[in-house]
């Protein structure tokens, strides 16, 4: 029996069955199958949530290694691990709405989030002054488009020169959306190709085999 579970074909069959269970109810109205599919989604959701334990294990292992070897930035790793466990313990003991748990959110996460977000402003200005150069026709077009969009985005320009709003909208509604569509379609096509490759046994790594049969 254990041999059966080790077989590559069995794993692929299991993946195919799971795939069909979730995929088919979208196209065929079979209530029991939909119910089964929903139960499966719930199981996956719970298993996925427990994957945080894996992340915890791998971060701890990595950080302890760096601290032990006194590698560059080791005090930050020590600090990360200490906070990680402290927040987890406080959260488990007192709950997500407790003042103690929220202290960590307000004292560490909120200022860190604000800094991380606002620091982008400085990076962008630095890039604009030092790196964003019209070295090619494409780069020149990108810079011109960027300037037009920024002009349109600034409310003052639109208030005194309304056509700029139209130009901004034209660029956003056509070029930006076209790029977004291309990105979305590529991702979906990529996902379908990957699924087909897994189901036909051509993508061994995705199902836990490191290559070959």
């Amino acid at each position: 029996m254990s041999n059966l579970f080790e077989k590559r074909e069995f794993t692929i069959l299991l993946v195919a069955a799971s795939f069909a269970l979730v995929f088919v109810p979208y196209f065929l109205d079979i209530p029991p199958l939909m119910e089964l599919s929903t139960k499966m989604a719930m199981i996956v959701s719970i298993i996925n949530a427990f994957a945080i334990l894996l992340a915890l294990y791998s971060q701890t292992k990595r950080s302890i290694l760096r601290v032990g070897q006194r590698l560059h930035g080791w005090p930050y790793h020590l600090w990360t691990v200490c906070l990680l466990y402290l927040v987890a313990i406080v959260g488990l003991l007192f709950g997500q709405t407790s003042t103690t748990f929220l202290f960590f959110q307000y004292a560490f996460l909120m200022p860190a989030g604000a800094v991380q977000y606002s620091i982008l402003t400085f990076y962008m200005a630095s890039a604009g002054m030092k790196a964003f150069r019209a070295r090619s026709p494409q780069a020149t077009l990108l810079i011109i488009a960027g300037i037009l969009v920024m002009l349109g985005q600034a409310p003052f320009t639109g208030a005194f020169f309304p056509p700029i709003e139209g130009i901004r909208n034209y660029l956003a509604e056509n070029f930006a959306k076209a790029a977004a569509k291309m990105f979305s379609i590529s991702m979906v096509v990529g996902a379908i190709v990957l699924c087909v490759r897994i189901l036909t046994g051509n993508e061994d790594q995705a199902i836990g085999y490191t290559g070959g049969v």
């Binding site: 989604a41 959701s45 997500q96 200005a125 002054m129 019209a134 300037i147 985005q153």
Partner: protein, 295 residues
């Protein structure tokens, strides 16, 4: 390249970014301390979003999904405050879910916590409309952990969620009226990515629930695809959208206040971009093309 020492292009090329950072700091801070009141225009997207909000009434239940943390809240809070005030004023009930682990900390900043006596941005509005937790809004907490959990919430809500974020049972509340997303009047998603697309896919698409999105700047184009496809009714775009909706609602606040700095910094970026390119064409390009003994 004569007289390189006094060349303005060389000066621009070697201009220290530290001074640019300092200028950004001053240009951002100054209009906050001394507001200018720069005029603003409203886009059709914001008008559509606001019109959707105005359709809500006292019999409606709205799902509010917070797919943002503290960082993106900075960008979306103006729009969030106006949206929430509009719902509270309409009398519609709200059910809040988080798709970000910072949700439990972020939510009390907006709604406060009556049990602890903490005050949020909307506490006064809620007090004015007698809008209370349990009767008018319920917080389910951080339950959108992954796409599969969004599927479970959509298809099997009462089996997946049995208590609110404080551990109180949800049975016996207005959530008894919700069997699946089709029973919701609307979904409002505050989106920085995360599970917004999953909500569109498994709630708006599968159950035809009207949905609007308040999106951070970088995701606007992506989220607008759902508007084109007809699954999302309207998008509120970033800080600018927040300022516009404040203007439309006649509730000037942090969004409109930010527009002074927002405008000036946009012009400053354009200036920096132009100066950087002048430096490139006037000095750097010639410097890079020059033959040296090493080549």
């Amino acid at each position: 390249m004569k007289n390189e020492g006094s060349n303005i292009y060389k000066f621009l090329s070697e201009f220290k970014v530290t001074y640019i950072y300092l200028l950004i700091f001053i240009l951002t801070l100054a209009p906050i301390l001394f507001p200018i009141g720069i005029p603003i225009t409203t886009t059709q997207d914001t008008k559509d979003y606001y019109a959707e909000l105005k359709t809500l009434g006292p019999d409606d239940i709205v799902l509010v999904s917070w797919n943002i943390g503290f960082d993106a809240l900075m960008e979306l809070k103006a729009g969030a405050y106006v949206s929430m005030r509009a719902i509270i004023a309409s009398g519609a009930k709200m059910v809040h879910v988080f798709g970000h682990p910072e949700g439990p900390g972020m939510f009390p900043l907006i709604f406060g916590d009556p049990n602890k006596g903490t005050v949020g941005e909307l506490s006064k509005t809620m007090e004015d409309h007698d809008y209370t937790e349990g009767d008018d809004y319920i917080v389910l907490g951080y339950i959108m952990l992954n796409e599969a959990s969004v599927v479970s919430i959509a298809r099997d809500f009462h089996n997946y969620v049995i208590v609110d974020w404080k551990g109180a049972p949800i049975s016996g509340t207005f959530l008894d009226e919700i069997e699946d997303p089709a029973d919701l009047a609307m979904i409002i998603d505050f989106s920085a990515g995360f599970f917004s697309e999953a909500i569109v896919r498994h709630m708006a698409m599968d159950f035809d629930t009207p949905m609007i999105i308040s999106s951070i700047g970088v995701s606007i184009a992506q989220n607008k695809l759902f508007v084109d496809a007809g699954y999302v009714s309207a998008i509120l775009g970033s800080t600018r959208g927040g300022a516009e909706i404040e203007f439309l609602a006649g509730q000037p606040g942090i969004g409109l206040q930010a527009m002074d700095s927002f405008t000036i910094i946009h012009y400053f970026y354009i200036l920096v971009l132009i100066l950087g390119n002048l430096a490139y064409f006037g000095y750097e390009r010639h410097r890079d093309m020059r033959r040296t003994a090493l080549r």
